[in-house]
């Protein structure tokens, strides 16, 4: 999994690409936290999943963990452009209730 980010108009966009499973999550988690900590003043955080080709329930755990982290600073977080298969996993998990899809 590859992780990139950009800041546009005070919003932090995090782009995940490749496959998010238990193996890639171990490395990805610290990188995500590093990006969030380095942009602590972001008004919103948007996880763009358009290039994420695979995600299983490990991904739900990782996204929920980041939601909880961002909630502490009152920063809303969102999901953007998931593929059909990733969207299915996110829907089943109910993640959109806390991280709406935009």
């Amino acid at each position: 999994m590859d992780i990139k980010y950009s800041v546009t108009k005070g919003n932090l966009y995090i782009y995940l690409s490749g496959e998010l499973d238990e193996f890639s999550a171990r490395i990805g988690k610290d990188r995500l936290d590093g990006i969030i900590d380095g942009n602590i003043n972001a008004q919103n955080v948007v996880f763009n999943l358009s290039k994420l080709t695979f995600m299983d329930s490990t991904g739900i755990g990782i996204l929920l963990g980041r939601y909880r982290k961002l909630k502490k600073t009152g920063t809303p977080s969102f999901i953007q452009s998931p593929s059909v298969s990733v969207n299915k996993v996110l829907q089943i998990s109910g993640l959109y209730k806390v991280m709406p899809k935009i």
């Binding site: 496959e19 499973d21 238990e22 695979f54 299983d56 329930s57 929920l64 996993v89 089943i92």
Partner: protein, 144 residues
């Protein structure tokens, strides 16, 4: 065409992607839809990750994946000889996890249930766990 395969691999996280790619390759000749294939890859990933993370918490061990395909269904069995699950019914509940501090979602079995047509989990403490999954090509309840 009926076909069968069995593989055994080390219980290491790198093999989660390997197992997904093996099942995808096995299915190529049956020409499944993109969505059907993606459901299977996700279900396999959940079962194999469970074996690696929960079956063998201190590493070591082997995971076995068997698959059988007919013109009606795909049957996959993922098994380990690890620590086993004490209470299978509890483990099948959505959001149930034994490792909440590791940010595990507890949704693995729920996803397998949703993405396949039949799931059977059998486990014995200290002896291991077997996850048996069936998915029909027509999405129906055809008899085996």
């Amino acid at each position: 065409m009926d076909n069968k395969m069995t593989i055994k691999f080390s219980s290491v996280s790198e093999n989660e992607a390997f197992a997904r790619n093996v099942i995808a390759s096995f299915l190529i000749s049956s020409d499944p839809s993109v969505e059907w294939l993606s459901d299977i890859k996700t279900a396999v990933s959940e079962a194999v990750t469970n074996a690696i993370v929960h079956g063998y918490p201190s590493g070591g061990g082997e995971v076995e994946m068997k698959a059988e395909i007919t013109d009606k269904y795909l049957h996959i069995v993922v098994s380990d000889k690890g620590v086993g699950i004490e209470n299978v019914d509890e483990a099948l509940e959505p959001f149930y996890t034994t490792k909440p501090d590791e940010e595990r979602s507890g949704m693995g079995f729920t996803i397998i249930k949703t993405f396949t047509d039949k799931l059977t989990v059998s486990s014995e403490k200290g002896k291991g766990t077997t996850v048996d999954m069936i998915k029909y090509f027509d999405g129906g309840e055809g008899n085996i």
